[in-house]
């Protein structure tokens, strides 16, 4: 102990290390972006040129029609719709789960189709808002059937390789032993009209 007396503390000055680390940090802050790889996933129909031109008659009652014009005003089932877009969710749920009770509404979930038609002048914002609510309606119905929350359901369908997830997914969509889906998500996005722009 006595030997140390009168000597300087043998300490390396490391204060510039913080500066170097800061430089690195700032470099990474500038050159990178936080990846945003989340969004609304939709499948597109096949190439229109290769599709057979057959007229499929869909009874009016099995179609839930949503139309949006170039001023972002909506028509739902032919009626002007001014309420909050979030209310569409409940309307779709009622429509899909009708099972033939109301003669104006769908026969069965299997036959129900939600049709979304926009104008070329409709903004993407409005379109996303409506599409989001349509998907929300379906995801909530699926999640109820599988007995999970909607967030869990969305995680399940993003990772179907897990057998547990696959089982829940099949329960939610009502897969019959014959391989038919009792509860498909049928959203039809029609080509936009050209009126107004």
């Amino acid at each position: 102990m006595a030997r140390n007396k009168g000597r300087e503390n043998p300490e390396i000055n490391s204060s510039s290390m913080a500066d170097i680390a800061f430089l690195l940090l700032i470099f990474f802050l500038v050159t990178t972006t936080i990846a945003n790889d989340k969004g609304l996933l939709i499948p597109l129909p096949p190439d229109p040129d290769q599709m057979e031109d057959i007229d499929i008659k869909i009874p009016e009652r099995n179609l839930f029609k949503i139309q949006i014009n170039s001023a972002d005003k909506m028509l739902v089932e032919g009626e002007p719709f001014t309420a909050d877009v979030k209310e569409i969710k409940q309307m779709i749920k009622d429509f899909v789960n009708n099972n033939g009770k109301d003669p104006e509404s769908s026969d069965s979930p299997k036959k129900a189709i939600v049709s979304l038609k926009t104008d070329r002048g409709t903004t993407q914002d409005k379109f996303i808002e409506v599409l989001d609510n349509i998907q929300a309606a379906y995801y909530e119905m699926y999640a109820d059937r599988a007995g999970v929350t909607t967030e869990q359901w969305r995680k399940i369908i993003d990772n179907l390789k897990d057998p547990d997830n696959k089982r829940l997914y099949d329960t939610g969509r009502g897969l019959t032993p014959e391989g038919e889906i009792e509860f498909p998500m049928q959203i039809s996005i029609a080509e936009p009209t050209k009126i107004g722009g």
Partner: protein
């Protein structure tokens, strides 16, 4: 007097040796959570918000298209345009672009390609549906509209 002098002898500087560690922690956090910029985005991007977000599992299968009003309006005008890999393209060029993107993937994965559309809020559906039509022709049928999570009310 001597008592006071002894006190003045104690060290007064704050130990800063832990500071680099803290900064390094921040640095590693950023290195892990972010990705390097690949393209300079030349269009305005006010991404719409939604609630039913899905996460993409296989990032290698994703190709991005950016749609919006160009940032340099005096050069490119105010009409929303499509940007793919640093250049502006027309809707009819989308098929070619998809073919090029597919070539970058393994043969078995080519039909699983996902196109992520990062579309500005104010862009019109007309342009987007033109892109969709081209994607259908190019047989790239998995589409993701990039959105951010809507803040709960």
């Amino acid at each position: 007097m001597s008592k006071f002098k002894k006190k003045a002898n104690t060290k007064q500087d704050i130990p800063t040796s832990a500071l680099p560690d803290i900064i390094f922690m921040l640095l590693f956090f950023f290195m892990v959570t972010t990705v390097l910029r690949e393209v300079t985005i030349n269009v305005k991007q006010r991404i719409p918000d939604a609630t039913q977000l899905r996460k993409l599992e296989r990032k290698s299968l994703v190709s991005y298209l950016y749609v919006g009003e160009p940032k340099k309006t005096d050069q490119w005008g105010t009409e929303p345009r499509i940007q793919a890999n640093d250049v502006f393209i027309e809707p009819k060029d989308v098929t070619l672009w998809v073919a090029q993107e597919k070539d970058k993937l393994n043969e078995v994965e080519r039909d699983q390609i996902t196109i992520a559309l990062k579309v500005d809020k104010e862009a019109k559906r007309g342009l987007i549906s033109d892109i969709e039509l081209q994607l259908r022709k190019a047989n790239a049928r998995k589409l993701l509209y990039s959105t951010i999570l809507e803040a709960p009310e």
